[in-house]
């Protein structure tokens, strides 16, 4: 099976038998099914946000609490982390050296943590201004949606740490490879959800 025919980018189990390959492919497909069910969860949080948008109960509205600058920086952090994860996938597929993969994963982790730090800073500032989740339906749905995404990024960051440990303990084995592959799908998927969040939440909210 040549690399071009591979079902999933990043999968390169050259020294293994076809059976390992097939197993890896069905696991990756299973992970896609999970990702799509997660997408349904996010879609309903988006729908809730859309319904609640006008329910400010006399409290702060979108124009008062959103900041375009920090949303833009957060977006840049997450976009570049998607690219650095891509570089980790390429290093895994073509070089297979644990050190190179670890460096790119570490860069991705730093960008992800930077994103989380910015988001926490935003939340603390909003809460300090009295825009707490219990203030109105709008703010409840805002925090539910954006912090669910934040928790996913946190989960992804913990997963990166686990994979860094596994890389140093087990080396680049087929099992570790498919785990990093699935982590990659998860990370790129979170980026897609963020495209929805910065458009529907931040940019729409800041449109006069």
């Amino acid at each position: 099976m040549s690399t071009r025919e591979l079902k999933h980018a990043g999968l390169n189990l050259q020294q293994t038998d076809p059976k390992t390959h097939e197993e890896a492919e069905s696991r990756v497909f299973g992970f896609w099914v999970f990702l799509m069910s997660d997408a349904v969860l996010f879609a309903l949080l988006f729908a809730t946000y859309g319904v609640m948008l006008s329910g400010t109960a006399g409290g702060p509205g979108t124009q008062n609490v959103y900041e375009m600058k920090s949303a833009f920086i957060e977006t840049l952090l997450l976009l570049s982390s998607s690219f650095t994860f891509g570089m980790a996938s390429l290093a895994m597929k073509y070089e297979g050296k644990a050190s190179r993969i670890s460096v790119w994963l570490a860069v991705t982790l730093i960008l992800g943590l930077g994103f989380l730090g910015m988001e926490m800073h935003d939340f603390v500032k909003m809460i300090g201004e009295g825009a707490t989740p219990e203030r109105s339906g709008f703010l409840s749905s805002f925090f539910a949606l954006v912090s669910t995404h934040g928790l996913h990024v946190l989960g992804g960051s913990i997963w990166i740490v686990v994979m860094l440990v596994q890389l140093s303990v087990f080396g680049v084995t087929p099992a570790v490879k498919t785990r990093i592959l699935r982590l990659g799908l998860f990370w790129h998927f979170l980026d897609i959800i963020w495209v929805g969040i910065f458009t529907i939440v931040y940019l729409q909210g800041l449109t006069p």
Binding site: S2, T3, R4, E5, L6, K7, H8, A9, F29, W32, V33, M36, S37, A39, V40, A43, L44, F46, A47, T48, G50, V51, M68, F72, T75, L76, L79, S80, S82, F83, G86, M87, L90, K93, Y94, E95, L185, H188, F189, D191, I192, V195, G196, F198, T199, I200, L203, Q204, L206, T207, P208
Partner: protein
């Protein structure tokens, strides 16, 4: 790395770089549209940023997640399209039902 692998490597590297540039350009265009109010009507701005987001999501699927029309990615593509249909039904249904209810209550 042999010759074939090297060519493949370059092709994939190019795909990630195209993805990054596309994502940055589309994001910048979205923020610029809102920041400098490139359309006078709010509806114009909203339509523009929604279209840009749609293109960006497709670009992410294509260049970062490697989903395309090639036969090998067909299963994933079908799963994604089916999920998209479910999402549109649920989100669209929620918005229609609740906004209809709201307009009848006031």
């Amino acid at each position: 790395m042999n010759q074939e692998d090297r060519a493949e490597y370059r092709r994939e590297l190019r795909s990630y770089i195209i993805g990054l540039i596309a994502a940055l350009v589309l994001t910048a265009a979205s923020f610029a549209t809102v920041h400098w109010r490139l359309f006078s009507a709010p509806t114009g701005i909203l339509i523009a940023i929604y279209l840009l987001a749609l293109v960006q999501i497709i670009a992410h699927f294509r260049y970062f997640l490697h989903i395309d029309l090639r036969k090998s990615a067909r299963d994933d593509l079908q799963l994604i399209l089916f999920s998209t249909m479910i999402v549109l039904l649920m989100v669209g249904g929620t918005l229609i039902v609740l906004f209809n209810l709201k307009s009848r209550m006031f």
